[in-house]
Symmetry: C2
């Protein structure tokens, strides 16, 4: 392992460590051509590799950022993380990826650990449950960006999508197709994203005179969704359209469909708020609200690195537009 140090190079080249350091940091300005050559040669010959840890200690900068993702099994998180990683690596910043499983304890543990490791900044899909910890970051002027979710209690910029408007739009799409019993299916309302989506749902329903939707809102942990679906579809007036809150919820809908031998697009219309790589390939194809995950990740990384390099950089919330892609699962006129 990198056991050749600057001192070795210095000795071999017959100069001092400082000079080698100058050389390595491309400060040739006041360096004779001769010494430059000498050092260059020895660096190559000895196969010198700088020691990042030592440099980090001195510079108080690690060229690493931490990403705490919501759930690695969630496609959106994966896509965003990948974008972050791509951007960072181009800029020679390494990413430590942590999977919090939407668990506040894990989240806190990871934030603390990453700080101890002196990562230069953090991108977090916040659970929202660690306000104290978030606030500490703000107080220390630590570079942090929230992804996908806003935590209003704390002044940290967030990169999100227009959850409310997009949901409003897809509900309107259902209504335009004459649906009246439209259900929304989501994981518990612990994060802003889900709340906003529900809000969009409510507003859209209300705006179109469909105020009787209380029993059509299902918000429950993933593993109980199936039971809720069974129940709601046994009601006197079962829903005719369904909005699945994300890809994991969608899988539950698939299970339900399978168990009950129903046909999507025939027995009820369906839209999914998320990116599904195979949305277009199923039969019927699935209507989705696609989130620009890659752009969001890139933007987060870009802003974070900027902020790291300039503590005064002011970052504000950023809202990305989703795209409603209507496909076979919801294109039937329901009259």
């Amino acid at each position: 392992m990198a056991r050749i140090t600057m001192a070795d190079v210095a000795k071999a080249a017959g100069v001092s460590k400082s000079t080698v350091s100058q050389f390595l940091n491309q400060r040739y300005e006041y360096m004779s051509e001769e010494t430059r050559k000498k050092i260059e040669l020895e660096v190559k010959r000895l196969g010198y590799q700088p020691n990042f840890v030592a440099r980090s200690l001195k510079q108080k900068r690690t060229a690493m950022v931490g990403v705490i993702m919501a759930n690695i099994m969630h496609r959106f998180s994966t896509e965003v993380s990948r974008a972050i990683e791509d951007y960072c690596n181009i800029n020679n910043v390494h990413v430590i990826l942590c999977n919090a499983d939407d668990n506040p304890h894990k989240e806190k543990k990871y934030i603390d650990m990453l700080l101890l490791r002196q990562v230069d900044g953090l991108i977090v899909f916040p659970t929202g449950e660690n306000v104290e910890t978030y606030q500490k970051l703000v107080d220390e002027r630590y570079p942090v960006i929230f992804m996908d979710r806003k935590v209003t209690a704390v002044d940290i910029p967030a990169i999100m999508v227009n959850n409310k408007a997009s949901t409003y739009q897809v509900i309107e799409h259902f209504i335009a197709n004459q649906h009246k019993r439209i259900a929304i299916l989501t994981e518990p309302l612990t994060i802003s994203t889900r709340k906003s989506r529900l809000e969009g749902y409510r507003e859209s329903m209300t705006a179109h005179g469909l105020t009787n939707y209380q029993d059509l809102i299902i918000s429950a942990p993933i593993d109980s969704l199936l039971a809720h679906l069974e129940q709601i579809f046994q009601a006197e007036q079962p829903p005719t359209a369904l909005l699945a809150g994300n890809d994991l919820v969608f899988l539950e809908v698939l299970k339900f469909v399978k168990t009950e031998q129903l046909k999507i697009g025939v027995d009820f219309s369906l839209a999914v708020f998320d990116n599904l790589p195979f949305a277009d390939l199923l039969d019927p194809a699935i209507t989705t609200i696609a989130q620009p995950s890659y752009q969001m990740g890139q933007q987060a990384a870009k802003l974070l690195l900027k902020r790291i390099n300039n503590k005064n950089e002011k970052i504000t919330d950023s809202i990305h537009e989703c795209e409603l892609i209507i496909r076979g699962s919801s294109n039937r006129y329901w009259a």
Copy 2:
């Protein structure tokens, strides 16, 4: 951040840095109850946090491992990485996750970077194209484990599945259902995994007297698979069964099916060598060869950490069994 140092604690407690260090490393043996208490108090009061970077520099150990995954868009990689992360984090080791996109240049760059960062060990899904770099790791006795793929040119232990036997088995399953024209569809044969699967295919076909399979082997980059499928299905004797080499290949098959308006399980039988979270939920359900990704990741992490803690630990290749799960896409008798 963490600007309280051991020196601060020492001063506040009226002891020396060494004593504080002793305390922090739980070496209370020769410490008076009194000083212990004093230090404990000050650590709490000042909110002291150890500096990992400084510790790493001194100890030449970072408590970080690097993972170079093949392709973050590939479900199997994701599942394995998650398992590695889970195991490592329980053991207070952090994971730097890098996505090589099956690109040898990226792979090499990442390996080099991770070494500069002095990660304690590496788990790599090797492209197989950087033998020189791999060999360097071996020469330095650097802890490395290969995942999913073997590189025969170099003596690094690999954790794999029984690719050949599993493929043999699924082909036999097709044959048992009276298929004679069985095609295999895989990405280019650059890695051992794919080669072994093809080998299993060949042996199984041959063993059952189906020697005329040359035109039934499609091995091509993802984005050209569709064209190959079109072609092979236009042949005089199109295949009646298809083995898709992984989940990404499967998506291409779905595209093909969609374009051609075919029905899986009716127009041809299908099996997929990989984990599909929704295999059971499609119509028909998809026959898969499931890989124990989580166990593989856990094992890799476990072995790596063991090896890191004991340079003499000898690790050997490890082969995991897959499970052939027969579902609707291939359960039809083809006579």
